[in-house]
């Protein structure tokens, strides 16, 4: 009983800490600039931590640890892909993005293309990506919290939903950023602690750990092929992961929170260091759980393997029933909870920006809204987005939605990335190309998943679970060919020149 109490106390500590951050931020959030972009006042390392906090979801922490624990090498290979996309972000997107936009992804595109159609298309794709991601997080969160603390699924979704709405509505990007920073620190600390304790058992030598894997579970767990039977599917997932990161709206808007392109650069480097270390370590958490807890016990707790990390913590703390074991497990559960709320808050902000800033302010009202009204609408939108997410989260109970994260990456890579890259780097690019490319890229990715094995099971019309290998080339080619087949926008070429100067020098960028 005392142990359950300890778990509840830890949850309350996290809730109070994040509420204090929100209270602190709420007094500083006076307008849209603070609400969407934290006043552009974060430093590089702060934003780097926040990016890591935004990106490392419960799917990464609990999900990948479970994948490795149950499947071995294939889980490790899956983990590798999640860092690699940041090379694309660093080299091609982060700095020009910081210099070109204001609050949303659509800002960058509409700078040099016709504003209304581009904003509409970009906003719709942003909403699509964010909602897919959000549903995956909410459903995952509901079942994970249910498993970890024993509260009913619906209540878990409501608690997480209400918290994220409070952070965003009152504290905007400022509160969200600091919640993400706190979460990143907690998550890294928890992961390092687990890996340190696993290391103690194996003399800090990975080879000893692998030897134990081979001896107890079989050498095939050190080789590819346990999880992914179809190499093309794996290749397809790889394409979505490496190209999708640079098209995820909730990650991209983080670059507006720093004052200069140089700080944006630093923040990617910090994020790459943290995210890389995390994914390197999480595979040891997985292999450690496989050896010390065993796949049978992990499967018995949760078929998907989500309980691998908490069960490993329980073992390392002294085993089931011991005070140390229960305490360590409760700590990991509390960290998972912080992880989930930080990610969903970032998604609510991205979705709110797409609706309030793009559709309401710039399409419906054509930019003719005063700052005060924009700020009010932004907060009401966040409230609505949060309420809708809670509703979808509850309705989707019991659904297998793990594929939605991969789908979000595929849509980001197929629809957003072509539009972003061509807008920033290709003078001849035009509105028709951008809009059709975004719509066709997104529709292809979504349709292929709907007729693929994730949704249709064995009767799938499309053989691959991951649509990237088809939808990414389709998105890029549609943007490219439609542009060439439609007239150049002569009046917009001067805007491209301006954008190109801004993007590459920072002259005239938002302060």
């Amino acid at each position: 009983m005392g142990i359950q109490l300890f778990g509840i106390v830890l949850f309350l500590v996290i809730v109070f800490l994040t509420m204090y951050i929100t209270y602190w931020a709420a007094r500083r959030v006076k307008g849209t600039s603070e609400f969407y972009a934290a006043g552009r006042a974060l430093t590089g390392w702060q934003n780097g931590l926040a990016i890591a906090g935004d990106y490392l979801s419960a799917a990464s922490f609990l999900g990948i640890a479970g994948l490795v624990a149950l499947n071995g090498y294939d889980g490790f290979m899956y983990a590798v892909g999640w860092l690699m996309g940041y090379v694309v972000v660093l080299y091609l997107v982060a700095e020009p993005f910081r210099n070109s936009g204001k609050f949303t992804l659509a800002d960058v595109l509409s700078y040099r293309l016709q504003a209304v159609p581009t904003r509409l298309a970009a906003a719709v794709v942003t909403l699509t990506v964010s909602v897919f991601y959000m549903v995956a997080q909410m459903v995952g969160a509901g079942s994970i919290i249910q498993l970890l603390v024993g509260i009913p699924y619906e209540w878990a979704v409501v608690i997480i939903g209400v918290l994220m709405v409070v952070y965003v509505v009152f504290g905007g990007m400022l509160a969200t950023s600091w919640v993400q920073i706190v979460k990143a620190v907690l998550l890294m600390t928890g992961t390092i602690l687990i890996v340190f304790l696993v290391g103690l058992q194996f003399g800090f030598n990975p080879s000893n750990l692998f030897a134990a894997v081979a001896e107890r579970q079989g050498v095939e767990f050190l080789q590819p092929g346990k999880l992914y039977k179809n190499p093309i599917d794996l290749f397809s997932l790889g394409i979505a992961l490496i190209l999708g990161t640079a098209g995820l709206p909730h990650i991209l808007i983080r670059f507006y929170t720093v004052p200069t392109a140089q700080e944006a650069r630093k923040s990617v480097v910090w994020a790459m260091a943290l995210i890389g270390i995390f994914y390197l370590l999480i595979t040891f958490v997985g292999f450690g759980a496989m050896v010390l807890v065993g796949p049978e016990a992990i499967r018995a707790a949760d078929k998907g393997g989500n309980m691998a990390a908490p069960l490993l913590a329980e073992y390392l703390g002294g085993g089931p029933g011991t005070v140390g074991g229960e305490l360590f497990m409760a700590t990991i559960a509390a960290i998972s909870f912080a992880t989930i709320v930080a990610v969903v808050a970032g998604l609510v902000l991205a979705a709110s920006g797409a609706f309030a800033h793009d559709i309401y302010t710039n399409v419906i009202k054509r930019g003719q809204v005063d700052e005060k009204k924009q700020f009010v609408v932004a907060r009401y939108t966040a409230l609505t987005v949060g309420a809708v997410s809670i509703a979808i989260g509850i309705l989707a109970k019991g659904q297998n939605v793990a594929y939605l994260v991969a789908l979000a990456f595929a849509v980001a890579a197929s629809a957003n990335l072509p539009a972003i890259l061509f807008s920033l780097y290709w003078k001849r690019f035009n509105t028709a190309g951008a809009v059709t490319g975004m719509i066709v890229g997104a529709a292809t990715a979504v349709t292929l998943v709907m007729i693929g094995p994730s949704v249709m099971g064995k009767d799938a019309l499309f053989p691959l679970a991951n649509p990237g290998i088809v939808s990414v080339p389709v998105g890029f080619l549609t943007s490219f060919l439609v542009t060439l087949l439609t007239p150049a926008e002569k009046d917009k070429e001067a805007k491209f020149d301006e954008l190109y100067v801004r993007a590459n020098t920072g002259i005239g960028a938002e302060q």
Partner: protein
């Protein structure tokens, strides 16, 4: 209607209204040799590295799919080739981040010179 849309395109975007002066300066910089030299050098660096890296990354799933015996070979102790090879990716990604930061500093210097030059021209007007 079309007039309205054009106006939104200008005003609803990121350039504040009445920034005609800034627009002229940006257009001037876009035409300058210094800026063209900067972007040419930058593009010749960022694009080949990114495209090369994406291609390099995609070798991993291909090897995992089609070279399973190789990936399962032990190289040191119980460390398989597949694991060691996977680790290389972390090293390469971090190395590329370092290379980028080093190289971007020279681009920053050029960009600052271009901005300062443009400001001097502006003051003389």
């Amino acid at each position: 209607m079309s007039e309205l849309i054009t106006e939104t395109a200008e005003g609803g975007g990121v350039v504040e209204r009445g920034s005609g002066l800034a627009d002229r300066r940006l257009a001037e910089i876009a035409r300058s040799d210094a800026f063209r030299a900067l972007t040419r050098r930058k593009m010749a660096f960022v694009w080949p590295v990114t495209v090369g890296f994406v291609a390099f990354y995609l070798i991993l799933p291909l090897l995992a799919g089609y070279a399973r015996p190789l990936m399962g070979t032990f190289v040191v102790g119980h460390v398989t080739f597949g694991y060691a090879y996977g680790l290389i990716y972390y090293g390469v990604a971090w190395a590329l981040a370092y290379v980028y930061v080093r190289t971007a500093r020279t681009f920053d210097r050029r960009a600052r010179e271009i901005a300062e030059h443009s400001e001097r021209l502006e003051r003389r007007r």
